[in-house]
């Protein structure tokens, strides 16, 4: 067993887990943070994407022990009691998610992108989502929502067409 302490969504958590435990299993099974999804367990689909020290990572490819002492942000840490994160709001408004299973991973990839690049081009958004597979939506409404959220986050006046 290894003991892992991570700062998850702003709160320090500790668990003792078998050494082969992935960060995804730690989050889901030990911390009951089930927002991050297991879609393939080998880093192909991106449904498990979380942000570790500011970078979007596939949590199924990272060992829990590798996350020891680091900051981890999951989908559950995006909203506060007062407000949804603008990306979450935009995803709801544009119906960007259909079955929703890829959603938490996509939203975390989008968050990592907008943290680094507040005004991404469509191509940059496509690049950022390149590791997140979605079978329902064709990504079109995700890209629209991320552009909308980026505008709001930049504190620009927003014009929503349609």
């Amino acid at each position: 067993m290894v003991t892992v302490t991570i700062n998850v969504n702003g709160e320090k958590r500790t668990a003792s887990v078998p050494p082969e435990t992935t960060l995804l299993r730690l989050l889901r099974d030990d911390f009951n943070l089930t927002g991050s999804k297991l879609g393939c367990d080998v880093g192909d689909c991106g449904a498990c994407t979380v942000i570790v020290d500011g970078k979007a990572v596939n949590s199924c490819l990272m060992l829990a022990a590798q996350a020891d002492g680091r900051d981890v942000l999951t989908i559950e840490g995006l909203a506060t009691m007062d407000r949804l994160h603008p990306i979450q709001k935009a995803f709801e408004k544009y119906a960007s998610l259909q079955c929703g299973f890829c959603g938490p991973g996509v939203i975390m990839s989008a968050k990592a992108l907008l943290d680094e690049n507040p005004d991404p081009t469509v191509q940059e958004i496509r690049d950022a989502l390149g590791g997140n597979l979605c079978r329902c939506t064709g990504y079109v409404k995700m890209i629209e929502a991320i552009q909308d959220a980026a505008r709001i986050l930049r504190d620009e006046p927003v014009e929503i067409n349609r």
């Binding site: 119906a95 259909q98 390149g130 597979l133 079978r135 939506t137 064709g138 990504y139 079109v140 409404k141």
Partner: protein
């Protein structure tokens, strides 16, 4: 060199099979705050069907989408449904939900008629109110009627109904008959770049013009079309389960079985054709499956237009397209000398 081409494909697709029984049942209950609950045995698998069903019930009752709660997919609690298959939910379950809402509404009308001093058939449900037709100022809030129905009349407004597109077996010899309730139609036009040195195909743009009868929710219709196109792009260019000589799959994973990512998606323009089908709920038919049907054909026709090679087996991988281009090049001098 990259060569640009364009190709079109149109299609038809059936909604509501009738060769065997295809029923859906639904229950609608109206509460004293003027909201309603729909019970349905269908399953939300991502299409947005529960939202569409809520809109259908809301429309029938003259309330808003947000006023309808949907309870679904529990064999103990919800009525029988043939399920989330064959693009049938909007059409078949939608008809059942509308009929159930209509029955609950009839109770409201019976209760409201003496409250408004008119006959039940002079009423309509609109903007959260039961209104005397032609006299919008004579109305009662739907919640007050529902409350009156329960507390005073002892007749809670609940409706249940089922819908089954009439079952008609086909002639076994000739296949003649009416196998489906109705059909939807669509055209997609693709623009592609084909690299004639590698055979690689890039889909630049797809224009999709779909008939779904009345679009109950245009945003969700667009979502279906966009998603169907991504699946169609995969079918056209990338996806294939491969087997070894002993019949075992050799690529059963997402590392080697490639589905479209955000980087593979063309620019998509969705266009909804204005249409109305009298047999569907509020004129609606369906849209789920047809969205992917013409995509591969349009892309392959665009490849034909770009480089003049006819790809006859899917997927049109770069290897396959390049081999076809080479074969065409090899054949050309012979044609000239002949």
């Amino acid at each position: 060199m990259k060569r640009r081409g364009r190709g079109m494909a149109c299609m038809w697709y059936p909604i509501g099979f009738t060769v065997s029984a295809n029923p859906s049942a639904a229950v609608v209950k109206i509460d004293e705050d003027g909201t309603a609950t729909l019970l349905t045995g269908t399953v939300e698998t991502g299409q947005g069907s529960l939202t569409v069903l809520a809109q259908i019930v809301a429309q029938e009752l003259g309330i808003a989408t947000d006023d309808v709660q949907v309870v679904s997919a529990d064999t103990d609690a919800t009525p029988m449904d043939t399920g989330a298959i064959a693009s049938r939910t909007t059409y078949v379950t939608g008809n059942a939900a509308r009929l159930a809402a209509e029955k609950a509404k009839e109770i409201l009308f019976e209760v409201a008629a003496p409250m408004l001093g008119v006959k039940a058939d002079q009423l309509e449900a609109k903007d959260h109110k039961i209104v005397v037709k032609g006299y919008p100022q004579r109305n009662v809030h739907i919640g007050d009627v529902a409350s009156h129905a329960r507390v005073v009349m002892g007749q809670p407004p609940i409706g249940s109904a089922s819908f089954n597109p009439a079952t008609v077996p086909l002639d076994p010899e000739t296949g003649q008959g009416k196998p489906f309730g109705t059909y939807v139609y669509a055209t997609q036009i693709a623009e592609v770049d084909v690299d004639d040195e590698t055979g690689e195909v890039e889909v630049i743009r797809i224009v999709a013009s779909h008939d779904c009868g009345t679009p109950i929710n245009p945003m969700l219709v667009e979502g279906q079309v966009e998603g169907g196109i991504s699946m169609g792009v995969g079918f056209a260019l990338e996806e294939e389960i491969l087997f070894d000589s002993q019949g075992r799959q050799i690529n059963p994973n997402l590392t080697n079985y490639i589905i479209p990512t955000s980087l593979d998606m063309p620019e998509v323009e969705v266009d909804i054709v204005d249409n109305y089908d009298p047999t569907g709920p509020f004129g609606a038919k369906g849209v789920g499956e047809p969205t992917l049907v013409p995509t591969a054909a349009a892309i392959v026709n665009a490849i034909y237009n770009a480089v003049g090679v006819r790809i006859t087996s899917l997927p049109a991988t770069a290897e396959k397209v390049f081999a076809a281009i080479q074969a065409k090049r090899d054949a050309q001098p012979k044609q000239i000398t002949a």
